[in-house]
Structure formats: structure tokens, C-alpha cells
């Protein structure tokens, strides 16, 4: 791998569900140690894109390379090893409600069987502190936490194994603006501290600008624009501008039924 090899390189990615073509030839590069934010309307295929990279959905066509290795050409064991390098914060945090918070955070460590339960518990407390939560929170059940705390625990779980790549699916959805900014700040801190490559999908523009080094817009199954995240509000692309400014009039027509 050379310095110019993207950490994640996606080419011609296509995925259809029945007759609906959700991804229609996505090309995207994410360079090592950078944060890419993918924006797009509801149902534009942002989550499907992430799930394809994670291996949760099998694409119909295309290639996904991580460190220059084609993920789809790897056998099951190699793919699982590759997947272990990726941490993911889900939209609704997706905490395991049958387990206490500390076990949620340490789940990946325990699953890899590289640590004892006592060590994992101590490590969980340490990671919870990194996302601004007291060790006592570790004893609670996820259902006892507020939405913001659940996101923090989800973030703690995602970073626990110190992954090379971090994915964030709508990290601020359902949070008030202050808590959204807090979560964004934690995400930026964690990504910097770990030196990870990050991909976030969102339709929260403030969050996109705070998190991202670069941004891309997914529309009708393709990446139609990409550039520095701080130019997102003045992209010069009419589709992106309509989306980022939330205008009713413009090239994007709301489909009543897709």
C-alpha cells in the first residue's frame, strides 16, 4: 500500500432491491486518516452504502477495496478479519438491551477472546470516561439511558477495539442541537486520537461540517458531488445547494412513491 492508495476505494458499486436501483454505480475514495461525510436525502442509499462496505449487504456489482484489497474477493475468514478493523456507530445506537452498558462497550473485546471479563470491565470504564460517562453508568441497562447517553455508549462500543476505520450512521439523529454538537465533538476527538479513517452519513448539515474533512452527496444512487466539507453550503452544484439549504424549489423533486 502506498500513501496515495485510498484507505477505502469504492468503484462502480451497484445494488438493487427488487426493481428499485438503490446504488447505481457509486465511486468514492476515502484517504487514510481523513473523515468523509456522505450526505443525501432519505432513501438515497446512504445506509445501504455503509452496509455494503461492512459486508452486511452483498452488492450486485462493483468493487470495495480497503488498503488496496478487494473486500468482495476475500474468503470468509479474511473478510471477518477485515471487518474487525471497522467500528460502527448505528443510527439508534443498537445497544444490546439484554446486557449492561459495560458489557455492551466491551462486547467486541470479549468476542475476540483476547481479554478476561475483569479486564474487559476495567477497559469499558476507561472507554466510557473517554466519551464523558462515569464508570457507574456501566452498571446500568441501556433502557435506563437517555438518547444522548445511548449514542455515547454506542460510540464507546465502536472505538473500544481501536479500529482503523469508523463508520457513523446518522450520529446526531434524534438528539437536541446541543447534544448533537457534543456527540460530533466526541466523534472528532475519538477519530483524531485513534488516527482512524472515518465515514459518516448524515442529513444534518451542521453535523456534516463539524465532523467531515471532505463531503460527498449521494443522489439517485450515484455520488454527484464531492469536495471539502467546509464548502458544503456553497458547493456551486444546484442539487447539493438545494439539499443543504433545504429549499423546496430546485432540481430535486420529492417522489411521492418510489
Amino acid at each position: 500500500m502506498t500513501d496515495t492508495t485510498p484507505k477505502i476505494r469504492i468503484r462502480g458499486l451497484r445494488k438493487a432491491f427488487g426493481e428499485k436501483q438503490v446504488l447505481d454505480g457509486v465511486d468514492l475514495d476515502v484517504m487514510h486518516g481523513t473523515s468523509m461525510v456522505v450526505i443525501g436525502g432519505s432513501g438515497s442509499g446512504k445506509s445501504v452504502l455503509l452496509k455494503c462496505v461492512l459486508g452486511l449487504i452483498e452488492p450486485d456489482e462493483g468493487t470495495i477495496e480497503i488498503d488496496g484489497r478487494d473486500l468482495l474477493a476475500l474468503d470468509r475468514r479474511e473478510r471477518e478479519a477485515m471487518r474487525a478493523q471497522i467500528g460502527m456507530l448505528f443510527q439508534n445506537a443498537a445497544l444490546f438491551d439484554s446486557l449492561p452498558v459495560w458489557e455492551n462497550v466491551a462486547f467486541g473485546l470479549l468476542a475476540q477472546r483476547k481479554t478476561s471479563r475483569a479486564e474487559a470491565r476495567a477497559k469499558a470504564a476507561e472507554i466510557l470516561a473517554q466519551v464523558g460517562l462515569a464508570a457507574s453508568v456501566g452498571e446500568l441497562s441501556p433502557s435506563e439511558l437517555s438518547g444522548g447517553m445511548q449514542k455515547r455508549v454506542g460510540l464507546a462500543r465502536a472505538i473500544a477495539a481501536q479500529p482503523d476505520i469508523l463508520f457513523f450512521d446518522e450520529p446526531t439523529t434524534g438528539l437536541d442541537p446541543i447534544m448533537g454538537a457534543v456527540i460530533d465533538g466526541l466523534i472528532v476527538d475519538c477519530v483524531k486520537r485513534l488516527g482512524s479513517t472515518a465515514v459518516a452519513i448524515t442529513h444534518d448539515m451542521a453535523s456534516a461540517i463539524r465532523i467531515g474533512d471532505r463531503a460527498a452527496m449521494l443522489h439517485k444512487g450515484r455520488i454527484i458531488w464531492q469536495g471539502p466539507a467546509d464548502t458544503l453550503m456553497e458547493s456551486g452544484n444546484p442539487v447539493v445547494d438545494q439539499f443543504t439549504h433545504g429549499r423546496r424549489e430546485g432540481p430535486i423533486q420529492m417522489e411521492l412513491r418510489s
Partner: protein
């Protein structure tokens, strides 16, 4: 017109084959993980407690009342024909409970209690991305969620049925001695004389099969559920209906296999 009918029947047949093929592959996948490490002992113990310990009261009550009602109804039948009821009722209670009612009633009760809960839990995990989250945390969801539940069902149901058989026979004994006035010693002797090893063994084999079917349908419908709360509700209903029908169908098949000669 005729072609339309054939096409409709054909589509239905393909859909049924696809469904049961999918269930079969899911079962094989789940079972194969029992023989490949790691094995999640905590998940097994949790599922086992749910199957065996927490289902015990409902299975016990069902078994006692089933034994009681068999004793009562068979006495009524024998009284019509002036037959010797005392020894015959003990035999009927033993055969009915050990061969059929113990495993079937326990199976149906556990399908309603544990199978439904299993489908609801896995369904909720599916629609809230918890199943996908397992995959991102180096954990195979089938190995973690399905395999321990299948094993728990296979082991727990025979234990429950052993208890159900004992209590069912006891229910018959209570009715026979307290209400019908039979001699307890004679009734117990007839009960022990009627009980054959093959009846008990086949009952336990049936129980293991039913336990597997309950866990399989609970896991399959939950794991495959889609579409939020409605999808989880549909999965729960489907798991109970499918498990109940399969229990009765396999009860017939196993009875035919072991007792038809």
C-alpha cells in the same frame, strides 16, 4: 383461464418450497455452529433457564389437569360399557400422558411461552440493528443467537416432559383415588405395570424434537422479521402457529414411526 390456475398453483408451490428450503438451511446453519467454536455458554444457560425453569409452572399445571381429565373421562367411558375401570384407567392415563399428552401439551405450552418470546426478542434485535451490530463486533449472529437456543430447546424439553409425565400421572391418581374411590395401592400397581420403557423413551425423543422445532421457529421468524413493530408482531404469531402445527405433525410422524407396528 386454466393456465392462470396452473400458474397460481405453481407460484404457491414454489413459495412453499422456498420457505421450507430457507427454514432447512437456517436449521443446518444453526446446528453446524454447535460443532464449531466458540460456543456461547452464557447464552445457552439463559435460553435453558427460559425453556426449563420459567416454563415449569405452566407445564406442571397443564400436565396435572390433563392427567385428571383423562382419568375422569375414561371412567365415564368405561362406566357406559360396565367394564373393569380400575386397572384400565391407570393404563390409559399412563399411555396417554407418556406417549402423547406429556410431550404435546408441554410442547404447545412452551411454543406459546418461549417460542413467542424468542421470536419477539430476535425480531426486535433485527429491526433495531442489534443483529447487524453483532456482525460488526466480530460475532456471528447465528452462532451467538441461534445455536445456543437450539441446544437449549433440545435438552430442556425432555426434562420438562419428564416432570410433566410424573405430574400428569399424579393428576390421574388424584382423581382415581379421591373422586372415583379406587384403591391407591391397586391403582399404583396398575400404573407401574402399564409403564413400558419404550413409551417413556419415545416420549422423550418427541420432546427433544419438539424443543428443537420450537427454538427453530422462534429463531427463524424473529431473525427474518422486517418492518418495525408490525413485523415483530407478525414474526411472533408466525412462530407460535408454525411451531404448534409442526409439533402436531411431527407427533403423528414419530408415533407412526415408533408405534405403528
Amino acid at each position: 383461464m386454466l393456465l392462470d390456475v396452473i400458474a397460481t398453483v405453481g407460484r404457491g408451490a414454489i413459495a412453499v418450497c422456498r420457505l421450507w428450503g430457507s427454514v432447512g438451511l437456517f436449521a443446518l446453519n444453526g446446528l453446524s455452529h454447535l460443532f464449531r467454536p466458540p460456543f456461547y455458554g452464557r447464552m445457552f444457560l439463559r435460553a435453558f433457564a427460559e425453556f426449563a425453569y420459567f416454563s415449569l409452572p405452566v407445564v406442571a399445571m397443564t400436565a396435572v389437569f390433563s392427567g385428571m381429565v383423562i382419568a375422569l373421562q375414561s371412567y365415564t367411558g368405561f362406566a357406559r360399557f360396565n367394564a373393569n375401570a380400575e386397572s384400565s384407567i391407570a393404563t390409559i392415563v399412563v399411555l396417554s400422558v407418556v406417549r402423547e399428552l406429556g410431550p404435546v401439551m408441554a410442547g404447545l405450552m412452551v411454543a406459546g411461552r418461549v417460542g413467542a418470546a424468542m421470536a419477539a426478542e430476535l425480531g426486535t434485535m433485527r429491526v433495531t440493528d442489534q443483529v447487524d451490530a453483532l456482525s460488526t463486533l466480530s460475532t456471528n449472529p447465528v452462532k451467538y443467537l441461534v445455536a445456543p437456543r437450539l441446544l437449549a430447546g433440545i435438552i430442556a424439553l425432555p426434562l420438562l416432559v419428564t416432570v410433566a409425565n410424573t405430574l400428569g400421572i399424579m393428576g390421574g391418581f388424584i382423581v382415581a383415588t379421591v373422586k372415583l374411590g379406587f384403591n391407591p395401592q391397586t391403582y399404583l400397581t396398575s400404573t407401574l405395570d402399564s409403564m413400558q420403557r419404550i413409551d417413556v423413551e419415545v416420549g422423550l425423543v418427541k420432546a427433544a424434537v419438539f424443543g428443537f422445532l420450537i427454538a427453530l421457529m422462534g429463531c427463524y421468524t424473529g431473525y427474518r422479521s422486517r418492518g418495525g413493530a408490525q413485523g415483530v408482531g407478525a414474526a411472533t404469531t408466525a412462530s407460535v402457529v408454525a411451531a404448534s402445527v409442526l409439533i402436531l405433525a411431527f407427533d403423528y410422524v414419530l408415533s407412526e414411526l415408533f408405534f405403528s407396528r
